[in-house]
Symmetry: C3
Subunit: 330 residues, 3 copies
């Protein structure tokens, strides 16, 4: 009984870890700790509660639907659900109906992941966090149709960006933005959470921690160079998707090498533009682009199925539909 | 000669029936009767004329392009065309150019269905009414580009929903809304038409009639609970897609059982949210979401290819790319 | 060395030619000449410079990524890149950052083409110019998010089309519009460039020149009949996608015949409506639809894989994933 519970908790923790491609319970534990710390500091404890609830609901849904256990127990049922759980209380008012749709949406992600992976199977890529993105969009946009859902923390639909004042680019502020780029992977706005996420990554994979750090810095540089909205940059909103792209391309789907590093760097830069485009694209609807920029960009870099890390071999085009191994740092 | 004509009429009637997955000429006859009654009561006889014209044009297109007859003669050429024929005079002003594009659009749906089914073949799902939806969107959005097309009954593009007064939820009104949820499958706003559609369904499949009735009631409940626009709910606009989802999941792609009933109920509920999201998403373009919420939701529930009605067998994942059998009620 | 350079120039010219499906260096030479003439006349030399730069960057990217040479050397690496190079200085202000993203975007199209063709492989269609369209949209929409990119020549986002005065339909003006429909394939607004493009087509394929001419005329007629914006029609904005559809359906993917001619004509007409719809759809974002109407419409006509030019044979459904042969005129 206690053993079963321990096993279930481990499955949950791995679910948290898989948000950043780490099937590691330790990484997941640090991620959840970061969410709790960040949401407590922001005075929004409902975000941490939602995260744990979404994680549990989506994981239990996998068992109820009797999906292949091996996959789910490496954390693949939970990573979309925990993000749903972070997103709903971050954007919606804290009402009973919000919790009802949070549970419905978290459960949905488990079979939407199978649905989307089925669609993408012949293309040899994975749906990543897109089940979370797509299902969360559905319910967030609904605030404009249903008075029963309240977009308390959502932007009003508008046609044009009102640019905020320029970014405060001084030495003391930059580390803050850099860590928030990482914390926003879980929609948390806290440098301390970002640091905890980085530590969690480090315990699971030094390469992943390195690429998260590099991706955050590069994305920050691109956003500053092209003069993105200062307040968006300061809150880490131009970095979280790039962080995921960096981990995906730099050390998850390709073995770390100089060639794959260049590929990942280009991917990180492109992610910032896809982010800028999606932010503008969703302005008339008042919803956030969530991690869609990461999904779209990483697909664009994996779908050609180039032998980036094996340029001289004649091996068949790589299959990117799953991620498994972590690459040890030498 | 007369025999050929009779056969052709039967093919047409089955085309009307397939809008609700019924390859039954009797069901189709009741559906067309409902359209005639509903459009006459609304003082819009052009809707019934358009419906019959669209049905004929799309069916004849299948013969002209020499597509596989077996498929077409079970009604699969006509069901998108009849919906095009209902939609154009419902949204556009009654001008000669409207009738020209109605004919063009109805013909297009016949090969767009083949195109979309080709795309979806490897995913093992069907395009449903999406050829109607996609081609109708093209021409409806054109009212903003072409002065020659007149969006007489279309909403003006806007950024925000102006919520209408709350719904009048009293005992006498509810059956009216409930039946309009069914009549709006053919874009008809009439409780009498809804009743005729329900009778047509009953003659073809008691399960389908039951699921249409249940889906309409559940969708009404969800829309009231989450406080959708009162006038939209009163005109059945939050129910028609859910009715189609109910018939699809409850008794067309899965055998009726307790497990598939729960699955269908969740699908019906999700359809209402997809409807709310799409209504908001299309506000800046002033077009209706048509039956897209049904298509999208039903895909999300079929694409995982779960053995919902055969949980204990080891049969391979079900193929949902066609619908054939109707399941007899015990 | 000189030989290598000559070969490289030929590959570049074929890249220009493939924008209109012509793997012919002569066609490409005329196309580039037309771009130079047109951009010089418009006082925008940066468009011609961008075109050549984009062509070179995307072609070199193919060599750097070591993609199959045979494909690239028939011009398939360059045709998206040259369009990126035409588009960026046409819409964006002439700044250093614009040139940086032009280079990045042109390079991207080379692997996006492989990515999209991989996705479409099982559907047996090609991605056409969609890599250009999709990647250019990303960077153009970014002007609303990044102060560092300046949409100098872009429309402001708006909800409703403000219809310009009616088109001046007199005999002397029509040939001007008709040739601009062709010049706008490369985003050039010049009857002389259109004439040069037509001559280039003629040298490569008389059928292609004929279909470009017919498509431009038919599209002009449809746009006038349905009263599209006068200024858009006068600048050729309702014809360029139709020209590409005409060449694709009329003589590239189907052998010229009476049956395929009817099919191509319907495709040309539908392209005008898809253009009208997309123009309206992108109004809230202030971006152009580029050649997306051509891509979408041609897909809709190729995806059913109908034996349009072989109605009486039992050959399997045609594979449209590549284009090769040009059909000689009798």
């Amino acid at each position: 009984m206690i053993e079963d519970l321990m096993k279930f908790v481990k499955v949950l923790l791995r679910g948290a870890g898989q948000v950043m491609f780490q099937g590691s319970a330790w990484a997941g534990a640090f991620f959840i700790l970061g969410i709790i710390v960040g949401s407590a500091l922001a005075g929004l404890p409902q975000v941490a509660i939602g995260a744990v609830l979404g994680l549990i609901v989506s994981t239990v849904t996998g068992y109820v639907l009797n999906m292949p256990h091996e996959e789910g127990e490496s954390g693949l049922w939970g990573f979309n659900g925990i993000l749903v759980g972070c997103a709903f209380p971050t954007f919606l008012g804290n009402t009973l109906l919000m919790w009802l749709v949070l549970i419905l949406c978290a459960a949905m992600t488990t079979w939407m992941r199978v649905a989307m992976n089925n669609v993408m199977a012949s293309w040899k890529v994975n749906s990543f966090t897109f089940p979370f993105v797509f299902s969360t969009w559905i319910f967030l946009i609904c605030v404009h149709s249903f008075d029963g859902l309240w977009g308390e923390y959502m932007a009003l639909p508008s046609l044009m960006n009102s640019f905020s004042p320029d970014l405060n680019v001084n030495i003391t502020a930059l580390p803050d933005y850099w860590l928030k780029n990482i914390s926003q992977v879980f929609l948390i706005d806290s440098w301390l959470a970002g640091l905890l996420f980085l530590i969690g990554l480090y315990f699971s994979s030094k390469w992943a921690a390195l690429w998260a750090a590099v991706a955050s810095a590069v994305a920050l540089g691109v956003a500053v160079l092209f003069k993105a909205s200062g307040s968006d940059v300061a809150h880490g909103l131009y970095g979280f998707s790039a962080v995921l792209t960096g981990i995906a391309l730099g050390c998850t789907f390709y073995r770390p090498s100089w060639r794959s590093a260049v590929w990942a760097l280009i991917g990180i830069i492109v992610t910032v533009f896809v982010q800028g485009a999606m932010n503008a694209l969703f302005m008339p609807f008042g919803v956030a682009s969530l991690t869609a920029p990461f999904c779209v960009t990483t697909w664009l870099f994996l779908l050609p199925r180039l032998n980036i890390d094996n340029p001289n071999t004649d091996v068949r085009r790589p299959d990117h539909s799953h991620w498994h191994k972590r690459h040890a740092m030498p």
